[in-house]
């Protein structure tokens, strides 16, 4: 098996970055940026999720089969969200 183990240092560094990003999420939310608030919050959350996926869940050293499953999960969630919203935003009157 390919060695997927992270060094302890890698785990500490990723953990530190995740904590900094959490603080950043909170601080960014305290500033009024209008619609950008939500976008920034989601971008930071996505960055944290990707770090966890790549390092803690070892996806960066996993085979193509793992990525197919990750991709399938995200694709179907995307379809669920996209088709649902494409219906609701076009409704009048609103719910």
């Amino acid at each position: 098996m390919t060695d997927r183990t992270n060094s302890d240092l890698t785990n500490y560094v990723i953990g530190g970055v995740l904590l900094v990003l959490t603080l950043l999420t909170y601080l960014a939310a305290r500033i009024d940026l209008g619609a950008a608030n939500l976008i920034i919050a989601l971008l930071i959350a996505a960055a944290k999720a990707i770090l966890i996926l790549l390092f803690f869940m070892h996806a960066r050293k996993s085979g193509g089969l793992t990525w197919v499953v990750i991709g399938a999960g995200l694709l179907w969630f995307g379809i669920l969200l996209l088709l649902t919203m494409s219906d609701y935003v076009a409704r009048y009157p609103a719910i």
Binding site: T5, G15, L19, T25, L81
Partner: protein, 216 residues
């Protein structure tokens, strides 16, 4: 790490390595279905927030953002410990392995305690649909939808975290009894994958539920 019995692969596998890969693939498929389970709730959230952003922002202020932030940090540190535990079992560092697992279990339990305190606060503040809810406030019906979603999403997450804690306790007991070795650690890795997934779900719940327009 010393271990009690020489672990042999199950008969349908060529070797332990192939067995491990198969078990892990199964966990990834399960996590993809979990994404869709939580995805349905995230979609419901998106629909209602799209139509009622102001009411959601107002209702969000009823949440304790300090506890939410602390709990996010607790889960992240617990994930670090789980990652350290997986690295420790693979390199045969028994003491570190047992310590890291125990630390992750402790932090997971601390998260649940804080979450429970929050639920108690919501109950006291009449923000608990079905049990104690104040219908006299403005926009009460949509406010109620927000709290429905809040309890459904954090509740489903809390159930998952409880399962995660029980899994780690199981792994800890088995680790203490020397069931795992540098050659056999698939259950540790899979419990870890599950734990990290539950952490990722919370990372999205945190800004979406706690941090809506808190600059007011």
């Amino acid at each position: 790490m010393s271990y009690r019995v020489e672990r042999m692969p199950e008969m349908q596998f060529r070797d332990l390595e192939q067995q491990q890969e198969t078990a892990q693939f199964g966990m990834w498929v399960f996590l993809a279905t979990e994404l869709l389970l939580f995805g349905a709730l995230f979609t419901a959230y998106t629909v209602f927030r799209y139509f009622y952003p102001a009411v959601f922002a107002e209702a969000s202020h009823g949440l304790n953002a300090v506890i939410g932030t602390v709990n996010t940090a607790i889960l992240i540190v617990s994930s670090v410990f789980v990652a350290l535990a997986v690295a420790a079992v693979k390199s045969g560092r028994r003491k570190a392995f047992l310590f890291d697992l125990s630390a992750a279990i402790f932090l997971g339990t601390a998260f649940m305690a804080l979450k429970g305190y929050e639920y108690y606060e919501h109950y006291q503040n009449n923000e608990f649909p079905g049990l104690a809810f104040d219908y006299a406030v403005p926009n009460a019906p949509i406010r109620q939808v927000y709290f429905f979603l809040y309890f459904a999403m954090t509740g489903l997450h809390a159930i998952h975290l409880t399962v995660g804690i029980l899994l780690l306790v199981y792994v800890l007991v088995r680790a203490y009894r020397q069931h795992y070795s540098t050659a056999y650690f698939a259950p540790v890795e899979n419990a870890g994958l599950y734990w990290h997934f539950v952490d990722i779900v919370w990372i999205f719940l945190y800004p979406l539920l706690y941090l809506i327009d808190i600059h007011h």
